[in-house]
Symmetry: C2
Subunit: 316 residues, 2 copies
């Protein structure tokens, strides 16, 4: 399944979406409130494509194929004309989304899905008064979506079930891994799970049981290796002879015991932050952060290339 | 640094330790309460070594080199004679550990570190009355330690700091990633982090926001990809322009808001378990669990081979 997507807002997130759609064979129209940005975005994407190709992350397409599917537009009306999908990635302010969604809903064909990349704003807060609110929802990527497949689909109370289903199909078609929420909730799924783990991490360091690097080792060299293959529910399903019910019968008592401690919240910006920041800056000076981000992205690209190969060779 | 390790208890965990020590050049004496088990364990390890070699996970050693370093012993006294390290992996019952540690402390050289593989018993509960309690601690692997490097070092109140430091050096020398806790705590670090995330996962499914597979996608295709490279603290340190303090200034309010909900515990074996089990068994019948575990281990082996290669080629 291919079609035409309008990428509305072509900063870091919008550019990443343009790559995700275009490598899957979609035409990607690119529009931004600043009319000089889409052309520049096409240039930045062009620089990235060869490295993606080298890692096998463009599928059958060449960098030139993908680049040819990008269409910078100066007028929003032109960008939205006849599209199948609209992906809004404007700044994270509710009044910006409200104003923009009014235009998107007015200009996009009735049959188009309109998704917002917001990572934290409930869709009901900026789609409620739109005639076409049934086809609006949050489609939240974990950045960058051309490397990380998980994508949260969050409906407002009035989003039609067919909209969510259509969004799920489109995300699967472009190679994303959709998490379809039944209804909206603050922070959605991914950040709630991250927050729960971070709360325990800050508590462990604040109580002086271990340092920040120990927590990072626990995930990087431990838990996350399994979770990156099978997720936390499948992990415990495979960790007791008769599956997850058996696991819970054996270990729930242990976890229930520690949950009592987990009710106590530690102020992340309190004294614990001095300790964690000192530890982090000793490992990575602030001036080295941009280089480390580029390293992370190279490693992430290599990891995704490995995952693709391993799925083919060893199954999924 | 190499030496001789006594592997005490040669079931699944003990066998995995024998591999971890022997591939790093250590001699691994193997003893079990059932005297027929160590010979059988050597056979099982021998079957596994070629696949580890194929994935580059034996370092410079050949399967024959590693196998030649395994020494099944019938007598505990022989197994412990002159060793540098003792790794106990007996059944998880405190009275078993108490009785065994009395023998280990009596028979091992004064200079040897004595580690227990227990995943849940505080070391103070089975080392308190030993003359050599200063050199005893928990050395908890995330199974299997020849694939997953994270290893928790948990001291009792009387464990000497030099013991923890020596354990850290030995673990680094054999290629593990030590998490050195400052003092003991129920569930240690890894299971507390896992527990915190699982509590939120069960809550999300119980409240009907998403299914178990959605949670698995959120980690497998999302959070765990980054965490497997850089851990959760480095992840947020790289996710704001000026590092972790900047990230916390921007997002702590959001996380503090959801922590209120996270105080409410869901009974994992209540109605939510019916839903999760139905979903899991539809994806994986109980009879297919053993095959799936073998698949997981093959994928984990390939993943660790990738990580090793990527560290060499792209840095760490």
């Amino acid at each position: 399944m291919t079609g035409t997507a309008a990428i509305v807002g072509t900063g870091f997130v919008g550019r990443a979406w343009a790559i995700a759609f275009a490598r899957a064979g979609w035409r990607a129209r690119m529009w931004d409130a600043d009319p000089s940005v889409p052309e520049a975005a096409r240039g930045l994407i062009g620089e990235l494509l060869p490295e993606l190709a080298k890692n096998g992350l463009l599928g059958d397409a060449s960098p030139a194929d993908v680049a040819a599917r990008l269409e910078p537009c100066r007028e929003l009306e032109t960008a939205l004309d006849g599209v199948d999908w609209v992906q809004e990635s404007a700044p994270e302010r509710v009044e910006v989304k409200q104003a923009l969604f009014r235009d998107l809903d007015r200009l996009a064909p009735d049959s188009a899905v309109i998704g917002s990349s917001t990572s934290s704003i409930r869709p009901s807060l900026f789609t409620g008064d739109l005639p076409g609110r049934r086809r609006c929802l949050v489609v939240h990527p974990i950045n960058p979506p051309y490397l990380i497949p998980a994508t949260e689909l969050v409906p407002a109370p009035w989003t039609a079930p067919e909209t969510v289903e259509r969004a799920r199909e489109v995300m699967l078609a472009i190679g994303q891994s959709p998490i379809a929420m039944a209804r909206e909730l603050d922070c959605f799924v991914v950040n709630r799970l991250q927050g729960a783990l971070l709360e325990e991490a800050f508590r462990l360091v604040d109580d002086g049981f271990c340092g920040a690097e120990d927590v990072d080792r626990a995930l990087r060299d431990g838990l996350a290796l399994r979770w990156s293959l099978i997720g936390p529910f499948e992990t415990i399903d495979l960790n007791a002879p008769r599956g997850i019910r058996d696991y819970v019968a054996r270990y729930e008592g242990m976890y229930a015991g520690i949950h009592e401690d987990q009710k106590r919240r530690v102020d992340w910006s309190g004294p614990v932050m001095d300790r964690i920041e000192t530890e982090r800056r000793a490992r990575l000076p602030e001036s080295a952060i941009p280089d480390r981000i580029r390293w992370r992205d190279r490693r992430l690209m290599a990891l995704m290339a490995h995952m693709r190969k391993a799925r083919t060779e060893l199954g999924d």
